[in-house]
């Protein structure tokens, strides 16, 4: 792809971007949200039409006007969100729309035999006759890669394939990628995780604000330089917690004791003091998110005691949580946070309605002032507060959701994976915000699968494993190593819960 341009109303999304891919190589696209990675991919897969430049495939210039043209040439995408049918079998998904037929109908036997062979070739222990939703996200992703291979594709686009995988699954994925390389298939890889990028890439192309910043071999570019090229400003590497939090004479905002929520939570106790940043650490499936859901009344039948500022409370629905001064920025921004077709103003003010309305009528001036205040304070980048929320980048959407909850002036804010899927620069900003929020005396319950993020920010960390407390680490004990140790083994030294 040579000097590709793409213009959207009001924005020039791509400015002369170059990108080339050799067969059998892994070429990573890096850039912040809004840098133009997705746009470039969408041009390559025919979702958008380019406004300038050339696409050359096998030495010939090609023009894509729809999504079918690239597929015929063998360009296949494995999206972040899987585009497969969970209730069909694995085999049916692989050959979707291309079922082998006999005179009587579909030739199921051949279909499953072929599918199974493809799966075995990739070294996957997945059965073709099993329903797709029987398997986890990782396996489903592998199946969609197998589908791409069965289409005899030449290029596979993997758009953030690792974002929902755990370490072991990532290894399996990388194994598959190695096999794809051996088949001379070119791979375009997109990820926000630097370590993975360095582990797998043959070359890295960096985009920034729609411009081409260059293409490098991983050995020629340190992680620090890469990040600097992406965000264009100095960012602090691997910092340690610089906060000086002394909780000895502070009150507890929230105390949760013996929380049970079948099947993920089996007796967890967690407490947060005012102005304290408390982390919940643990592997996927350790019950981190579920604990937060119970606290916010979003889970079904849970048992255990919850105290807010020393008083026992019943929280049956998010409305109750809101009334008790709790706030919850969920992990699934799109499904559980963003109200896409409403404006930023409306999205910011929805939870704080009681403060800005009288007799049920919205007081427009107060609403505008509220939105203005938080757009400025959180540096939300938007031309106007009347913009629909769906038009903002991931990082800015996250800030709007933070603003929504800060506007309710909560005593405790739960942040579930607040930096997931947002770029390095915005991540830093969000982390600074978290510290600022805690600095005002608001308790923060931070959930993250990035242990370094917890180490950087937390004053206290509860380590969970399989729905049980595994241990507590206080400020001076907090380190990546200690957390991982506690996750994998019983660490009797800090076994006492709720100090």
């Amino acid at each position: 792809m040579k000097s590709i341009d793409k213009i959207f109303p009001g924005v020039k999304a791509l400015k002369g971007v170059n990108f080339n891919l050799k067969s059998g190589e892994v070429h990573t696209l890096m850039g912040e949200n809004g840098a133009g990675k997705s746009t470039l991919i969408k041009i390559l897969t025919g979702v958008y039409e380019k406004d300038g430049g050339q696409i050359i495939f096998d030495g010939r210039e090609v023009h894509f006007t729809n999504t079918l043209d690239p597929q015929k040439l063998g360009i296949s995408t494995v999206y972040q969100e899987l585009n497969m049918i969970p209730y069909l079998t694995v085999g049916e998904n692989i050959y979707l729309g291309r079922y082998p037929k006999t005179r009587k109908g579909i030739d199921w036997k051949t279909l499953h035999e072929n599918a199974q062979r493809e799966l075995d070739d990739m070294g996957l222990s997945i059965s073709s006759r099993e329903r797709l939703n029987h398997y986890g996200t990782a396996a489903q992703q592998m199946v969609s890669i197998v589908r791409a291979i069965s289409l005899h594709c030449r290029i596979v686009v993997l758009d953030e394939p690792t974002s929902s995988l755990d370490t072991k699954e990532v290894e399996t994925l990388f194994g598959i990628i190695a096999k794809l390389k051996a088949k001379k298939i070119g791979i375009i890889f997109i990820s926000h995780r630097l370590d993975e990028v360095y582990a797998i890439s043959d070359r890295i192309t960096v985009l920034k604000d729609g411009s081409y910043e260059g293409t490098y071999k991983p050995a020629e570019l340190t992680q620090y330089e890469l990040v600097r090229k992406m965000v264009g400003k100095e960012i602090i590497q691997e910092g340690i917690n610089t906060r000086n939090y002394d909780g000895s004479n502070k009150e507890y905002v929230v105390e949760m004791e013996d929380i049970f929520y079948y099947p993920k939570v089996n007796g967890v106790s967690v407490a947060v003091k005012e102005g304290e940043i408390v982390g919940l650490a643990g592997l996927l499936g350790s019950g981190r998110t579920e604990v937060a859901q119970v606290l916010f009344g979003y889970a079904g039948n849970a048992s255990g005691t919850i105290k807010v500022k020393g008083n026992k409370v019943k929280i049956k629905a998010p409305t109750d949580a809101l009334k008790n001064g709790l706030a919850f920025v969920t992990e699934n921004r799109r499904e559980e946070g963003v109200i896409p077709n409403m404006t930023i103003r409306e999205n910011i003010s929805i939870s704080g309605m009681p403060q800005i309305s009288r007799w049920g009528f919205i007081q427009r001036k107060k609403q505008v002032a509220l939105a203005e205040k938080y757009i400025q304070r959180l540096e939300i980048k938007t031309p106007t507060m009347e913009q629909k929320l769906k038009n903002l980048s991931g990082g800015n959407q996250q800030k709007v959701l933070l603003a929504r909850w800060l506007a309710t002036e909560p005593d405790l804010i739960i942040l579930d994976e607040p930096t997931r899927g947002i770029d390095v620069g915005a991540k830093k900003e969000v982390e600074e915000l978290i510290k600022e929020i805690a600095g005002q005396g608001i308790g923060v319950l931070l959930i993250s699968s990035e242990i370094t993020e917890l180490v950087r920010n937390c004053d206290r960390i509860f380590v969970l494993r399989e729905g049980k407390n595994q241990g507590v680490l206080l400020k001076e004990d907090i380190s990546e190593e200690r957390i991982m140790k506690q996750i994998v083994e019983h660490d009797p030294v800090s076994r006492e819960v709720l100090t």
Partner: protein, 311 residues
Amino acid sequence: MKIKSERNIFQAYGAPIALVILLLINCFTTPNFISWSTISNLVTHSATVMILGIGMTMVIATGGINISVGSVMAVSSMVLAKLVFKDHIITGVIVCLLVAVATGVITGIIITVFKVQPMITTLAMMYALRGVAKLLNGGTILNYKNQDFSNFAYVKIAGIIPIHFVIVFVLAAAGFILLRKTRFGLYVEAYGDNPTATKIAGVNTILVVTAAYVLCNVLAGVSGILEAAATTCADPVNMGLNKETDAIAATVVGGTPMAGGRPNVFGTICGALILQLITIMINMNNVPYSYSLVLKALIIVISIYAQNIKK
């Protein structure tokens, strides 16, 4: 810095534009079209659908639908007629509206608490309430003679403007203000756009959605009162029959998205007028009525098509 609103203009203003165009065409082609009585007829005949449409707009904005409004009209007007028959006008109106509220609460709770799809819930309510309406007077028409009450439907403000104008205007204005200027309106739109996010944002969604069905049914009750007054009887079989489809059509033509989201009350009013105008136009040109149904269908399909065009 101003940006252009990227709302589809057909969704926002399609219905009023279409209405003006239709009116203009008729001015030139339909004989005797330009007269006060045509306008007057247009509004009085479409009043029921406009009032139902306001309620339907609220419900559709939440992403739901209410096909029981016709039956609600029948039940509430039967209750009204029973009481007016004994000369209790005020009590009749109050009890009739309370019955509408009760039906709305039941519908809302089945949908929100028991999580039965709105289409199925209101389908069940449609059958059940039609049955109740028939039971109230043994399935026969209930005639009443109460001059005071039936005169009400023929009141003319300043001697020329039918009372329907005033009722529709007041209800439409109230609906518009409720949906655009209040917390409730914001919650309704947010729920239609993303129900899960709205719930997590701390909104009492059970209350909001139930309230939308209650208001919708109360408006159906009001239509029932208006029709019962105009006809001096309550007919449990035909009262409000198929009116729900007209109300849904008016809402859709008016630009409220069927999947839920931004409500467009003004659009719904224009939508109802367009549908009625087609009937009047066909009548005045001596074309068989059946053609108007085909023409309505065309209008509905074209309007949805136009609203779905991206930018």
